[in-house]
Symmetry: C2
Subunit: 319 residues, 2 copies
Amino acid sequence: MKISLEKTAHILKNADNIAILIHHFPDGDTIGCGYSLCRALQNQGKNVRVECADKVGDQYGYITENFKFDQFKPDFVVAVDVAAKSLLGDLKEKYPKIDLCIDHHSTNEFYAENTYVDSKSAAACEIVYELCKMLDGIDLVQASALYTGISTDTGCFKFSNTTAKTHRIAADLMDMGVDYAEINRIMFDTKSKARMQVEKDALNSIKFLCDNKVAIMTITKESRLSSGAKDSELEGITGLPRTIEGVILGITIRERDDTNICKISARSNPPVSASEFCARFGGGGHERAAGCEIKEPKENALKILSESAEKMFKELGLN
Amino acid sequence: MKISLEKTAHILKNADNIAILIHHFPDGDTIGCGYSLCRALQNQGKNVRVECADKVGDQYGYITENFKFDQFKPDFVVAVDVAAKSLLGDLKEKYPKIDLCIDHHSTNEFYAENTYVDSKSAAACEIVYELCKMLDGIDLVQASALYTGISTDTGCFKFSNTTAKTHRIAADLMDMGVDYAEINRIMFDTKSKARMQVEKDALNSIKFLCDNKVAIMTITKESRLSSGAKDSELEGITGLPRTIEGVILGITIRERDDTNICKISARSNPPVSASEFCARFGGGGHERAAGCEIKEPKENALKILSESAEKMFKELGLN
């Protein structure tokens, strides 16, 4: 059932022995939500813990170090920033019944008994910020967690999901003393050595076509393995080719462990449609960010993609 | 004379035939200030133009395309975001007398007849935002220019100069309809092909020392010249080595046109002091960002810096 934020706060006030579930491959927003809500409920004297199917990254230590969780059998289960039950990973089986879900995804599948969704919120932390205010006020630990979620889900206020409200909440959290500069340094200005290695290899591979309007970058299996980069460390790397001035179609070829298969990501600027380009290979996605798969070794994939991009640009009169 | 913001608005209301001067090598903040103030005064029926010693970059076209300037002999000259007269470049001789200066640098040299400085403002555009509200309200052209200045001077709200007030002003400007996502894409997610080339070469050059706590990167003359990268395109590149996880001293060697001289930039995280490191070579700067010069070819500079970093890390017990 869809419920209001007031009702959500009311339900939480009456619950105890609470497990808060965050999504697998946890990011700043789900972590920020989970830990700030946990703190709010703990501050009311409740028994609460946060659970995740995967390990929370060390970079979030400034949040997690403030928490110690007791073992207990939960009477109430709440999922935060989790749009579908499958995103709980291994916790899906452990918790077949979810009592409450708090989320900002328009794709929420309403798997919980009660659900509060606000898809206008750039981050689920914007919702939990309002909720914490209703529950018990916000301390510095919560404020830091909430700022982290808001900052990471908006690319530090850069992306189009950012709203005026996002900024006003950030301002309120900063007034509470959040060390935002250090949080942003950790979140945005720190890359692993392995990521740097893959980026270097990928930059070396870039091919330009169509008068430099198309850039195709390859991430090889060899580069991934020799650097030791985990998938989580390569987040966002496919955005690189389109960041080059003048490029309106940026393509990334990612060689799979099975080197006869390549995962393709396309990013575009108007008038080029990334989803239309990927549809030519049975893929799809959004207008400016799409993907597909090509069951060929990387050299062939490069040739096929190059020819297809040249053809598309000719059709569009861009060549 | 130091004056209040109210007095600043009063003086501008009584002026006409106004030349607004912005600093040379113009950045988003000085451009945002100049053009938004120009618009505010034009909206009051005044004769106004913006002048700069250097060409305003094409990426700011969405601001400048809204302006056409007539030739006229100015009766009143105002400098915005210009801390010292020398920063006017060639305009310094053309305008020996500056009537008014509006700035946010604590280092302002008070060269104008009247000066309003607020060094707590992250961007001079925060001041001009308040000023425009006093003058004639803010239209979308002004709002876009002001957002640009605020966003660029704070690294998109990432840096420690950002305040809660900065966010609240950004929120107000977004309420006016600013296309912030597109502005941020142009300002932060667009790199020239030449910059990308130099970055690639520089990443290829990185040497790690002291258990990966020190990273030394070299930008060669050859890379600069063959890529065709202008100095303005290489802004911020010296921050790269320190962004690598675990690196607490990131050093950049920049080979000069005279290849017997290298410009050195150091960036550090605690407990390492970049200024203390650079002081060993007669340089200096801030605790976390400093510089010096080494009058040796790049290979020798690399050797000298490596030995010095290892010695410093041993002294600090970090090795």
